[in-house]
């Protein structure tokens, strides 16, 4: 039983020991080799899951839309990703004659590298994590800005109006939705008291003196907003405005084909999967769970979150660009900010540790009661914001209708005259 639970840890320890003792490297070199191997394994995992996910996503979305999806290559179309890969490898790749060559060719590399760099901190099982940074979630948020730079490089380097316009739109979207993401990760860090992803998981794990409540039960509003902004950050439907073909062709990667395009595609999927992993870690308890081994739990949770992504993609219509910005700046950001302040006050006024209650005052409560209060505050903020937004929308519609009526009567008047 123990061997199955700690399978990944045992394998990694065994390989590390093998390199150290059998090959007889110096400790420093051995450590570097182990790190390099771990990096290669992580990158391979990400690349393989990218290939698998393209297939699964096409199948799932097809089923949602009452289609069959890929079914020609191999049984059930299982070899489709392989066929796509061969096509990408052997497709002729043109660089526009007027492009800024260096910038144009480096952009896909930059986007892929930064997308893969996120996996350095994702914990898969106890002790199986690339590196446990004490600034873990902050690192995840920061490394995402690399892809913004890559998108600007692609848009600029292509020397194409559509590409540049698409890059501008995408960047405006990405930087916009980074704000609610920041604010809600901040809420989780407040509750946990640490930025390390391992500490965040431990905070949700059942242990002595810790009831192990998943954060989604305490902080449903940050979870919801993180999910929405995660989808927008990875530019997936319904926020895939750069794929609005009728408006701006194909966005910033209009000029790309072959392997370079594949790297953009890889970056997109790898980022989406990373968001699924981070969501499971922050809100669903990460690898913590009963009976099943930890790596199965994290994969299950991430798969569930990714399924939600695919589900939304299959059902929701694309939002308009002004709606997208309004949703972010006029709804998510103010709501998250107010929620952050209220969570701060709740945590200070209802401490769970006796020492904190004695030093700073407040009412001593059990963790479950605190979680209930947080839940109540979260839901209250959510419903009040929804009510306010609904009222504003109603007013807006009324004003619009009135304007139309006025115009119509004015038209009638001119027609009569």
């Amino acid at each position: 039983m123990d061997a199955i639970t700690n399978l990944l840890k045992i394998i990694s320890d065994f390989v590390a020991e093998l390199i150290r003792s059998v090959l007889g490297f110096s400790p420093l070199l051995a450590e570097l080799v182990v790190m390099g191997l771990a990096a290669v394994v992580l990158i391979t995992f990400a690349a393989l899951s990218f290939m698998g996910l393209t297939y699964v996503e096409r199948k799932v979305v097809a089923r949602i839309q009452d289609r069959l999806g890929p079914n020609q290559a191999g049984p059930f179309g299982l070899l489709q990703p392989l066929a796509d890969g061969i096509k990408m490898f052997t497709k002729e790749d043109t660089t526009p004659a007027t492009a800024d060559r260096w910038v144009y060719n480096l952009a896909p590399l930059v986007i892929a590298v930064f997308a893969l760099a996120t996996y350095a901190v994702i914990p898969f099982a106890p002790g199986v994590v690339g590196t446990n940074l004490n600034v873990g979630v902050f690192y995840v948020l920061a490394i995402g800005s690399g892809s913004i730079v890559a998108i600007l490089m692609a848009g600029w380097g292509s020397n194409n109006k559509y590409a540049l316009l698409g890059a501008f739109r995408t960047v405006a979207q990405l930087i916009g939705y980074e704000v609610p993401m920041l604010l809600n990760v901040l809420t989780v860090v407040l509750v946990t008291g640490s930025m390390s992803l391992i500490d965040i998981i431990n905070h949700q794990t059942l242990a002595e003196g810790n009831p192990g409540i998943p954060h989604i039960l305490m902080l449903p509003l940050p979870a919801l907003v993180f999910l929405i902004s995660g989808i927008a950050e990875t530019a997936r439907s319904p926020f895939d405005l750069l794929e609005a073909e009728s408006e701006i062709v194909a966005g910033f990667h209009t000029e790309y084909s072959g392997m370079k395009f594949a790297l953009f595609f890889l970056g997109e999927y790898v980022n989406a999967l990373a968001v699924a992993f981070i969501f499971s870690t922050l809100f669903l308890g990460g690898y913590a769970g009963p009976i099943l081994p930890p790596y199965v739990w994290i994969l299950l949770k991430a798969a569930l979150v990714f399924f939600v992504f695919m589900w939304l993609r299959g059902t929701l219509p694309r939002v308009r660009i002004d709606q997208m910005h309004a949703l972010n700046w006029k709804f998510l950001v103010p709501m998250s900010t107010v929620n952050l302040v209220l969570v701060m006050l709740v945590l200070k006024l209802f401490p769970t540790s006796e020492a904190a209650a004695q030093t700073f005052g407040g009412i001593l409560v059990t963790p479950w009661v605190q979680a209930l209060i947080l839940l109540a505050v979260n839901l209250a903020v959510l419903f009040v914001s929804l009510a306010l937004a609904a009222r504003a929308a109603r007013r807006f519609r009324q004003a619009e209708e009135e304007m139309i009526m006025r115009r119509r009567s004015a038209n009638l008047a001119t027609a009569r005259a």
């Binding site: 800024d100 910038v103 600034v135 902050f138 490394i143 995402g144 800005s145 913004i148 730079v149 930087i175």
Partner: protein, 233 residues
């Protein structure tokens, strides 16, 4: 030579090289990209200084925010086509910057131990050689300690401590308010009609002022030319 020293030298070459590219290139967009490379290298220095928090913050603020602003304004101002990279005084400025670097090098660098400047009357007070760790007459002592595990929490506590940085922390909020208000006011795109109306108002005001200044010798051409010249810009 330890591995950290090797990493340091690689980072130093990366940072200095890309910084030199930034200040000499005529393609402003590529300059902005190399600026990002320099920022990234400096984040690497922060890692070597055992400060992961600021390495990540550097990536977040400088690469994720400031560089984006710079690239946006490069695109908005279209300033890169046929750009002349240097102005007339570039040569003398280069010499001045080189001299500045030399002085700093002599003040901090190991060269200070080789070149003895203690005999030069004015410089002697700056570069004392009797103690190797003296700058401007102030000695400093090395801590030789590890960074505490809790340095992030310590920093956070210091920020909101009344006896430490609470006041500047709160001032940051007001500063940012002022920056946002000012920048939006300056940069917002005004409608053409609005601009024309504003300029006409200014021109009228100026014309009135001129008329008020010289009421007896009021030549009719003068206010009109003032209107024309203001409207041109």
């Amino acid at each position: 030579m330890t591995i950290q020293q090797l990493i340091f030298i690689a980072l130093a070459i990366l940072v200095i090289g890309s910084a030199l590219f930034v200040v000499t290139t005529s393609n402003l967009f590529r300059g902005a990209l190399m600026l990002i490379v320099a920022f990234f290298g400096i984040a690497g220095f922060y890692v070597l200084l055992d400060n992961g928090l600021f390495a990540v913050a550097q990536v977040m603020i400088y690469i994720g925010a400031i560089s984006i602003l710079i690239i946006f304004s490069v695109m908005l101002t279209r300033g890169m086509q046929a750009m002349i990279p240097r102005n007339a005084q570039a040569g003398s400025v280069a010499i001045a910057a080189g001299l500045l670097f030399l002085i700093l090098l002599l003040a901090f660098g190991p060269f200070r131990l080789v070149v003895d400047l203690s005999g030069v009357p004015v410089l002697a007070t700056l570069f004392r050689t009797e103690s190797p760790r003296v700058l401007g007459g102030l000695p400093w002592s090395f801590a030789n300690r590890e960074v505490p595990e809790t340095y992030i929490a310590d920093f956070g506590r210091a920020l909101v401590d009344l006896n430490q940085f609470l006041l500047p922390f709160l001032l940051v909020a007001f500063l940012v308010d002022a920056v946002l208000a000012g920048a939006i006011y300056i940069a917002r795109q005004r409608k053409p009609a609005e601009v024309i109306a504003e300029r006409e108002a200014i021109a009228k005001e100026e014309a009135e002022e001129i008329a008020a200044l010289q009421p007896q010798a009021a030549s009719p051409a003068l206010p009109q030319s003032a209107v024309a010249s203001t409207a041109e810009h």
